[in-house]
Every structure is written in structure tokens, then in C-alpha cells.
Symmetry: C2
Subunit: 271 residues, 2 copies
């Protein structure tokens, strides 16, 4: 993060004073569309895959609304969205959009799904938004910002200093995701931590950035599932990699940790 | 519920026009105390038992605040609280209080813990409150009321009409609770439903009453964990029993279902 700096305007070419208002406009547009159908009785859910993977009207409308804003304000940027795929750009920047991360939570009425928005250059995400529209809570990270705005006002994000597995709180979407060997690896870590909680979707990454939990371990992620969490957690001082310690920008198996010590300890048990 | 009726004042001796404002005052008092420490960095958590069962300052202060109100306004009623145990009464009514249901969620920063308040007579709970202070969301059931007030305003609660296991959404705190045979019984049901989600604490019962999910299956409950959910779900038209179909007012293993058909089908697989 050094070359980007912590000030409002980065040390490289990105003008965050222009980019942040656009990211927040995207979040607002997605918020309107996702809330229109949240907890509505007429909600319809298709299945994209053989297993249960609902896609709602809200999901599609939210991404379409974000794409319309980008087409207007950032026509040279690329877009990678969960619902409508890849739109190539020429600026070297790509908006990475997951209009509803946690569709299973969304259709169940829980308040832990979220809208994920990231902006990436060739090296990875440079800013990220995790937005929870029902609560009215928005976690922002990148370009000098690391903050949450919600029911308690606006507060700085920052990871906590947990370094030992036996003092750590671990969150995951397991047992809902992952194959048998991934599940077994996850359980080896779960057996060593202080507390394990399940089923929080993207909200778990927000809690890590907010200093409430220490570890998130997941599998089967797409790029749009993890890029916004990466930006928010890195801005808060944490670490996100794949299970081997490499880049997870393109998805796969992710481990997010509050400290380098904890990250290393968890990876040693995982792999 | 027939003898209590669905109007604001019941057909028996209970004066709900007096009782509801008191229940809501209790919720307000607990809200203030629980939010004081939610997501605070100085949160301390003891362990009551050998396994992980945190009790926070907020938990104790919230119950104390509710008890002070009852001592003032309802000195003849009994109190059963998670933190301070039983206070005998003479009125035949008992306030059943869980100041923070889901302490593991609370200390992790999640928005799915809740304040549980029930009022019971000899037959069981006659009113219940499930309050989520961080979201600002309150689910009420009993004495003619079945409603939620929160980010979407005030709306009526009502279960949905799901009758088949393979169309049902199931929530639970498993795999965090229950012994091996209970866990196995739970998984037999989980294998037959459309969707299973984990780790939502009392919020799962609220979602069932709000028509968002269809089944909740849990074990190791205390009376104060389940009495408020019973009142809210019954007011919304649902069913809550133990795994054998009997009363679960005193805690134990609970199954909550949207419809009698679904309740019967799930019990047949469980036991």
C-alpha cells in the first residue's frame, strides 16, 4: 500500500477525490434497487446452477443501475459484474461489482448480505465498498480512507492486534461451501481458535476491518466476491491472500487475517 | 391462543394495553445498555462455563435496567432473567428476560443478536419481544399484536405457507450447539430442505415470524432463550414445540415451523 499512501489523493495516478464519489453513487443506486425487493413476498429466485444459487430481480436491477452510472461517468473504465460479466475498458481501471453478495442470506431476510464494489488497476483493488443497505451501513477502504458509516455514525476502521490462533474469532461460510478436503482444512483451524461463527457472507470481512473479529476463511470465491473485501481490509491494516499466501484478487480460496502473525499461523494449519 | 383472542385486550384477565407499554420500556432500557458496549474495543467477556459462553458488562447492565423498571411498575410480577436468576412474584405473571441472546454474535459485532423479553402466565408466554438494537428493529407478538418496526417502518408479521421440506429454508445455531446425536438428527433434516443457514441466534425466529424462512431447529435452549420467540411466532401464525411436539416453554430442544404440515414433516425426520 506504500505507493498509494494514506492521504486523500494517492501518490500514483489515481485521483481518489474523483473516484470515491462515483463509488458511493454506485452504492446508493444498488441500495435503492436491492431494498425494493428485500423481504418482499413476491421475490422470485431462479437457479443459475444445479445447486442452490438464487439470482433475484434485485440482483440484476442493481447491477444494471450501477452499469448505467459508469457508462455515463466512466465510459473508459472496464466493468466486471456478477450478473452481466465483463465489459472491456481502455483506462486500465476495472469496476468489480457484486450487486448482492450473499443471495442466500438476502432471500432469507438476514441483514448480512451486501453490495460489493471495487475498483482495480493491473495490480489489484485500489478501493472497495461493502454496503449493507438494510442496516444503512457502509464500509469503505482505499485511497486514504478506512471508515464505516452507519447506526453509530462514522468511525475509522482498524483491525485488532490478535496474533494467536487460540485468541482468535473465525468466521466463514462453511459448511455451506467448499469440497471435503477444504472443509477438513477449515475444521483444523476452527478447532484451534477461540470462537467460530458461520454464515455471515461478506459482512464477515467488514467485521474484520472493523476490529471485531480476526480471521475469515472461505473457498469457491469469484473475483467480485473478494476484491472489495481486500481493499477494505488492507485499508484497515489487515491481510487477504489465498490459502498459500499468494494473490486472491481473481478469487478462489481466501484467508483474511488481522495480523501477519495470525495469517501465518492459520495458513500453517490450513495447508 | 383462542382464549386470548386477537384484539388489543384479551378475553381473559390480562390487560395488554397496560402490559405492552411496559414490555416496550424494557426493550428501550436494554437497547441503551447493550448499544453502549456494542463494537466497543474495551469489551470484556468472562466465561461462565468451561466452553465459550461470554457474559459482558452490557448483558448484566441491560438486565439490571429492566429489573429496575419492573420493580417500580410491576412489583408483584415474577422475573426470570439469564443473568440474575429468579425473583418470585405473586401475580401469576413472570417476565422472562434474556438481555443479550447471542452473546457470541454480540462480541463479534454481528447484527443478529437480540434482547428477548417475554411475559408468561401458568400456561406459557402471552407476549414476546425480539429486539435488535443496532439495526433498530423490534418484533412484537401477543395480545393481538404481531408486528415488526424497523428500517422499513411498521409491518404485520405473518408466517408463510410452506408445507414441504424440500421447499423450506432452515436456520439453526448448529454446528455450534447440540450433542452428536442431536447434530445427526439436525443434519437429516438439513439434507431434505431447500436451504440451510447457520449462526443467526434469535434473529432466525424473527425471520420465521416475518415470513422469510420456514424452520428453526435448535438444542440446549433455556426458558429465556425461547419464550419470546414462542410468543412472536405464535402471534404470526406459526408453531414452536420441542422435538417431540410438546411444550418447549422451559427450554431444551426446539423446533419452530411456519405451518403444521411442515412441523410434522420435520419432526418425523428429527425423531
Amino acid at each position: 500500500m506504500a505507493e498509494r499512501g494514506r492521504s486523500g489523493v494517492s501518490k500514483n495516478k489515481h485521483d481518489f477525490s474523483e473516484l470515491w464519489p462515483i463509488a458511493e453513487r454506485l452504492a446508493e443506486a444498488a441500495r435503492v434497487e436491492t431494498l425494493k425487493h428485500f423481504r418482499a413476498f413476491d421475490l422470485t429466485a431462479d437457479s443459475k446452477a444445479a445447486d442452490f444459487d438464487p439470482v433475484t430481480i434485485a440482483d440484476r436491477n442493481a447491477e444494471a443501475a450501477m452499469r448505467a452510472i459508469l457508462q455515463d461517468l466512466r465510459p473508459n473504465d472496464g466493468i466486471l459484474g456478477e450478473e452481466f460479466g465483463i465489459t472491456e475498458g481502455t483506462s486500465g481501471l476495472t469496476w468489480v461489482l457484486d450487486p448482492i453478495d450473499g443471495t442466500r442470506g438476502y432471500i432469507s431476510g438476514t441483514p448480512t448480505w451486501g453490495v460489493l464494489i471495487a475498483l482495480s488497476d493491473a495490480k489489484g483493488p485500489i478501493l472497495g465498498v461493502i454496503d449493507q443497505p438494510y442496516i444503512g451501513e457502509r464500509f469503505l477502504g482505499g485511497g486514504g480512507r478506512a471508515e464505516v458509516t452507519g447506526p453509530q455514525g462514522t468511525n475509522r476502521l482498524g483491525v485488532r492486534r490478535t496474533i494467536d490462533l487460540n485468541a482468535a474469532t473465525l468466521f466463514t461460510t462453511f459448511p455451506e461451501v467448499g469440497n471435503a478436503s477444504e472443509g477438513a482444512a477449515f475444521r483444523r483451524v476452527a478447532e484451534q481458535v477461540r470462537l467460530t461463527r458461520y454464515g455471515c457472507d461478506c459482512y464477515a470481512y467488514a467485521l474484520l476491518a472493523a476490529g471485531q473479529i480476526d480471521l475469515v476463511i472461505e473457498a469457491e470465491l469469484a473475483a467480485y466476491d473478494i476484491q472489495a473485501p481486500i481493499a477494505v481490509i488492507e485499508a484497515a491494516g489487515g491481510i487477504v491472500t489465498d490459502w498459500e499466501g499468494g494473490s486472491v484478487h481473481q478469487g478462489g480460496r481466501a484467508i483474511a487475517a488481522a495480523t501477519p502473525e495470525l495469517h501465518k499461523a492459520a495458513m500453517a494449519v490450513l495447508t
